[in-house]
Subunit: 143 residues, 2 copies
């Protein structure tokens, strides 16, 4: 059984890959699908487990390759936190992350346009920003 993306997601997916001359393969579609499906900031390991339910022969190398491809197309974002493997989330509106130092859980935090542009303007002339990562850590909600 192969993973099936909803029509709009499939279009975004295919278009983004084609724009870079890349092929929309089953594995890439499935990796994207499982990340869209459960927005819990999974690790590559989590994604591997989920993808293999649909495509049991998928290897770790493929998961990593697909993730790198999706990130380079802007479909998926990496979230890097201290002392933990890289996590992934579908790239929707600009948002930050909050990691609870007690439970390890990661929460999304919306960033409004004004704050985002203020942040962007911190970077000096001559630098071209392609990506912004804002991560908070501390004591999360209702522990």
């Amino acid at each position: 059984m192969s993973y099936s993306l909803s029509a709009p997601h499939r279009k975004t997916f295919t278009d983004s890959l084609h724009a870079k001359g890349l092929r929309p393969t089953r594995q890439r579609s499935c990796v994207y699908g499982v990340i869209l499906d459960k927005r819990d900031h999974p690790t590559a390991d989590d994604i591997y487990d989920r993808v293999r339910k649909f495509l049991p022969s998928t290897s770790f190398a493929t998961v990593y390759n697909c993730l790198e491809t999706l990130v380079s197309c802007g479909l998926v974002r990496q979230v890097n936190m201290a002392r933990s493997p890289t996590r992934y989330c579908p790239n929707l509106t600009p948002h930050a992350h909050f990691k609870c130092t007690i439970t390890g859980k990661i929460f999304d935090v919306q960033i409004d346009k004004n704050t985002l542009s203020r942040m962007q303007s911190l970077v000096p002339d001559g630098f071209v920003t392609e990506n912004i990562d804002l991560c908070f850590s501390g004591k999360g909600h209702q522990i």
Copy 2:
């Protein structure tokens, strides 16, 4: 030969450790010293090499332990960037980081008070922020 911190740094160092009931050991002092000395965002590996010039029997485990201790005391900050080992910098004024995707070099970016407090206020009620990490990536200065 042991590493020698300047008087003000030594005081900060000793006080911060004592405040947490921790001991200001030679290794911790040396790790802190080499991070203060060359502000190039070294990795644990870089720090290991530098520390061993002063304390040749220092092990990797010790470097990691010291770094964790210094981070927990707020003397040092971790910088986590995609696809690269954790880097460390002395914790001075609040600042962000910009990583050049071409050279891999990391630059400090100052954060003004207003922007910082705007960023802080993104976090919803009930969350207690202990740390903020802001990382930019893209094309750095004069490649």
